[in-house]
């Protein structure tokens, strides 16, 4: 296993290399000029050219790439063009809100969706199963921003039991953290609860039809033990896959939630950087996202082995 993990970690290097080259080229092939953005509306073409030269954007693209890549190898993601601050510090400052939102959401999703899916499967074909499936369809159908506005209206504006927007670090105040994160988590988690509950239900229904479950019944094993120890445990692999994909999708896909609830996370930083053509920040963010995806895939693969003794690397 240790060798496998080492091999997978080494494989990260060529993946990141390819990502770095593509990101650098694609961003520069797209429209936009950070110097023009920086200079402001009243700047003349000459002003913009002077700023372009200061930023080194007038240099041939391969020279720019060599400089940037050399810095990356030394762990330096460069300086933000728009904000004149180190890219690494900008990303670090925005990491916590996104991480907290993602982790809280995924914990909430697992705590709600897995039992929901298992209960639906256990009651396969009955009203409770249909109710869970109906919720699942609704959860898939409702856009995050619509749900977010409804939740804000009901809980923040009408009932007054939650703030409209903002983020508070749990290290500042745990109570205020949960108060601020509750509505964003509810908005964001609905679609993933629907997804994970559906997968859990389908997998558990399939597992409940296996021969060893019938054997367990005939041996007189209690219903609860059949569901929890036999059916659910053997259904974890596909569920974990979906959870892994969900975490990856969440990290890169929280833009809407962060915008509606004004959470200063990585999603908003990405949008701002794209709008400002802030090349170093976009490049840094994509590298971080790519690395995170690779890491999540690795963790999911390792989890397979832990959950299913038949899987060995």
């Amino acid at each position: 296993m240790a060798l496998y993990i080492l091999r997978r970690l080494l494989a990260v290097i060529p993946v990141m290399l390819v990502v770095a080259v593509f990101v650098f080229l694609l961003i520069r092939l797209g429209p936009g000029d950070p110097a023009a953005q920086l200079a402001g509306d009243a700047a003349t073409a000459e002003d913009i050219q002077r700023i372009r030269e200061r930023l080194g954007l007038h240099l041939p693209i391969h020279v720019q790439f060599i400089t940037w890549f050399g810095n990356i190898l030394q762990g330096d993601l460069g300086m933000s063009i728009a904000n004149n601050r180190p890219v690494s510090s900008l990303i670090l400052a925005r990491l916590e809100p996104t991480l907290m939102l993602t982790l809280t959401t995924i914990i909430f999703v697992v705590l709600v969706a897995v039992p929901l899916g298992a209960i639906a499967a256990w009651n396969h074909g009955r009203w409770i199963d249909r109710a869970v499936m109906a919720f699942s369809v609704l959860g898939f159908s409702i856009p995050v921003f619509v749900l977010a506005y409804i939740l804000i209206y009901v809980f923040a504006m009408w009932l007054g039991v939650a703030p409209v927007q903002g983020f508070v670090s749990p290290t500042d105040s745990l109570y205020r953290f949960f108060a601020h994160i509750a509505l964003p988590v509810l908005s964001l988690s609905t679609i993933y609860i629907a997804l994970v509950a559906r997968i859990t239900r389908a997998t558990v229904v399939e597992t409940l039809g296996e021969d060893y479950i019938r054997t367990a019944y005939s041996k007189g094993v209690r219903d609860r033990d059949i569901l929890l120890k036999h059916a659910l445990r053997n259904s974890w692999v596909p569920v974990v896959t979906v959870i892994g994909i969900s975490i990856a999708a969440l990290i890169g896909g929280v833009v809407v939630t962060e915008s509606v609830y004004n959470i200063p996370g990585l999603g908003r930083l990405t949008v701002d950087a794209v709008l400002a053509s802030d090349y170093p920040v976009i490049q840094g963010l994509i590298l971080v996202f790519s690395f995170t995806y690779v890491l999540i895939n690795l963790v999911v693969d390792i989890t397979y082995a832990a959950l299913d003794p038949r899987i060995r690397y």
Binding site: A39, T44, A82, M157, V164, G166, N262
Partner: protein
């Protein structure tokens, strides 16, 4: 019901009852120890150098932490701000200024004449009005720590107006070591002598900017009027929170989490004004002007008849209806220097105020136009601009033009408009933008009227040396009457040449909680003089 279940139910009920009471705590707990004013601005603060960029957020940041030598009052008169006394020699060539005593930078150092001279030099490299002043300036000398003089080559009628220029770029005074930074590079520190201190360690670009009251600031005794007069600060801390979603920002003002929202979209203003405890008011007195700019370098718009045909084909009212909607928020105004300013005149503007397609077709017939498509850049992502291009496209088609309306995003427009290439090779024929009224309020600050060609003019690059001479004679004009006469000539010629087309004048409404007292009007948002009541 089991005891356990009963306990759970009771606990849940208690929690539901307790949450609203606790909610007040999390909403306002940060304000318990100090008075915090939270504002949502029109955009996020990014560039912390109001000289390097003309971005309005950087200008607004400048007004928080820097001070100015002069400042404009509500009568459009420059009033002394950092300056105590000043005099001009009999030959009108030497201006001598004395600073107020006790002016301090945020690092505790005294403001000196050297700081002022270095700041004016840097501003003079970037700003159109600053460049004009520097063209006249022979030398700037520090007489002593508190007194400096500006020697000009010939009498310059806009000296005080230049030093009190209210909008981008504003001649802010900064320490000499910062002012010596190359004007294309951002200054490395945020040290000014203004009424607020920038809290660098709490600054999150794109998210929040924080300012504290500068305890050692010495306000003037006069009543505040626009950017002039006493800058008395009555809050401990100001936070500029960037909330990208307008609906969320508005809800935050209504719920009391945010005190002030700078300019909500027009369709949300009615919602805000119907909400309890929320006030809507126009704070920027002149509003803004829409602008259509043509490219003078390439056919067919290098032909004045084609440009005039476009002027006859369009009308302001259609643009304002498309962009703004409710008529109470806009006005049809032919004055290039804005309605409501001392230079307001409608001379030459008649063709723009009423569509005349017959005349447009006639002009087109007489012109060199041979049916090539007119490339219009259409930024679909900026709500305050996306209304203009379709109106232009429709009017031009009705007049007989072929139109190539190219949907794109604003950042592409910003970079593409700097291209002097022909439209078929990545250039352009026509784009639209908006200007804050103070940035077009006279012929020197108005970028659309600079006619210095490829070298000196703004995008579109008109090249009319006689017009440039006329524009410069405004700077040399003696007194308001003479300035107005020159401005009239400039506007008349500008319309003849179709230097640009003003598309109407619209206002923006700021909304804020009615617990705020003393909110001032001005060319830029003002955070002094405000009291936050319970």
């Amino acid at each position: 019901m089991s005891i356990t279940t009963r306990n759970w139910t009771a606990g849940l009920l208690a929690a539901v009852v307790a949450i609203p009471a606790a909610n007040a705590a999390f909403v306002s707990s940060a304000d318990a120890e100090e008075v915090v004013l939270r504002a949502v601005k029109h955009s996020a603060l990014r560039v912390l150098d109001p000289i390097m960029t003309t971005a309005y957020m950087s200008r607004n940041h400048g007004y928080m932490i820097f001070d100015t030598l002069f400042a404009l009052d509500e009568n459009f008169e420059p009033q002394p701000q950092m300056v105590d006394t000043w005099e001009v020699s009999d030959d009108q060539l030497t201006w001598t200024f004395t600073l107020r005593d006790g002016l301090l930078f945020h690092d505790g150092e005294l403001v000196t004449s050297d700081d002022v001279i270095a700041s004016l030099r840097r501003w003079g490299e970037r700003d159109a009005m600053g460049q004009e002043l520097m063209r006249y300036t022979e030398e700037m000398n520090a007489v002593d720590d508190n007194t400096f003089e500006i020697v000009v080559s010939e009498p310059y009628g806009l000296m005080l107006e230049s030093l009190g220029k209210p909008s981008s770029n504003v001649p802010f005074i900064m320490p000499q070591r910062l002012a010596e930074t190359d004007s294309t590079e951002p200054i490395p520190e945020q040290i000014g002598s203004g009424p607020f201190v920038f809290v660098d360690e709490e600054f999150e670009p794109g998210a929040v900017a924080v300012y504290r009251k500068f305890e050692d600031y010495v306000p003037r005794d006069e009543e505040p009027s626009w950017m002039s007069g006493g800058k008395n600060v009555h809050v401990d801390r100001v936070e500029w929170v960037n909330i990208p979603d307008h609906g969320t920002a508005l809800n935050s003002v209504i719920s009391g989490e945010i005190d002030w929202m700078e300019n909500p979209p027009w369709d949300l203003i009615a919602v805000a004004e119907n909400a309890p405890n929320v006030v809507g008011r126009q704070l920027q007195p002149l509003g803004s002007q829409g602008m259509m700019r043509m490219n003078f370098l390439h056919p067919p718009l290098d032909d004045p008849k084609v440009r005039q045909a476009i002027m006859y084909a369009v009308e302001q009212e259609s643009y304002m209806q498309a962009l703004v909607g409710p008529p109470e928020y806009y006005e049809v105004c032919g004055a290039m220097f804005m309605c409501g300013t001392p230079l307001e005149t409608d001379i030459g503007s008649a063709p723009l105020l009423e569509q005349d397609l017959d005349r447009a077709r006639e002009l087109l017939e007489e012109s060199s136009y041979d049916g090539e498509p007119i490339v219009i850049m259409y930024p679909t992502d900026v709500i305050t601009l996306s209304g203009y291009p379709p109106v232009t496209a429709q009017a031009l088609e009705e007049a007989g033009f072929n139109v190539d309306l190219q949907a794109t995003d604003w950042q592409t427009v910003v970079s593409r408009r700097a291209s002097m290439d022909p439209p078929e090779e990545g250039g352009w024929h026509l784009f639209h933008t908006n200007w804050v009224g103070f940035d077009v309020a006279n012929p020197i600050v108005s970028q659309g009227l600079v006619a210095g060609g490829r070298e000196a003019a703004w995008f579109g690059w008109p090249d009319f040396p006689e017009f440039e001479e006329l524009r410069r004679s405004f700077a040399a004009a003696d007194g308001a009457e003479e300035q107005f006469a020159v401005a009239e000539q400039i506007q008349e010629q500008a319309y003849e040449n179709v230097m640009y087309l003003p598309l109407g004048q619209y206002i923006e409404i700021a909304i804020f909680g009615d617990h705020l007292e003393g909110v001032l009007e001005g060319p830029a948002p003002i955070f002094w003089n405000i009291r936050k009541n319970d």
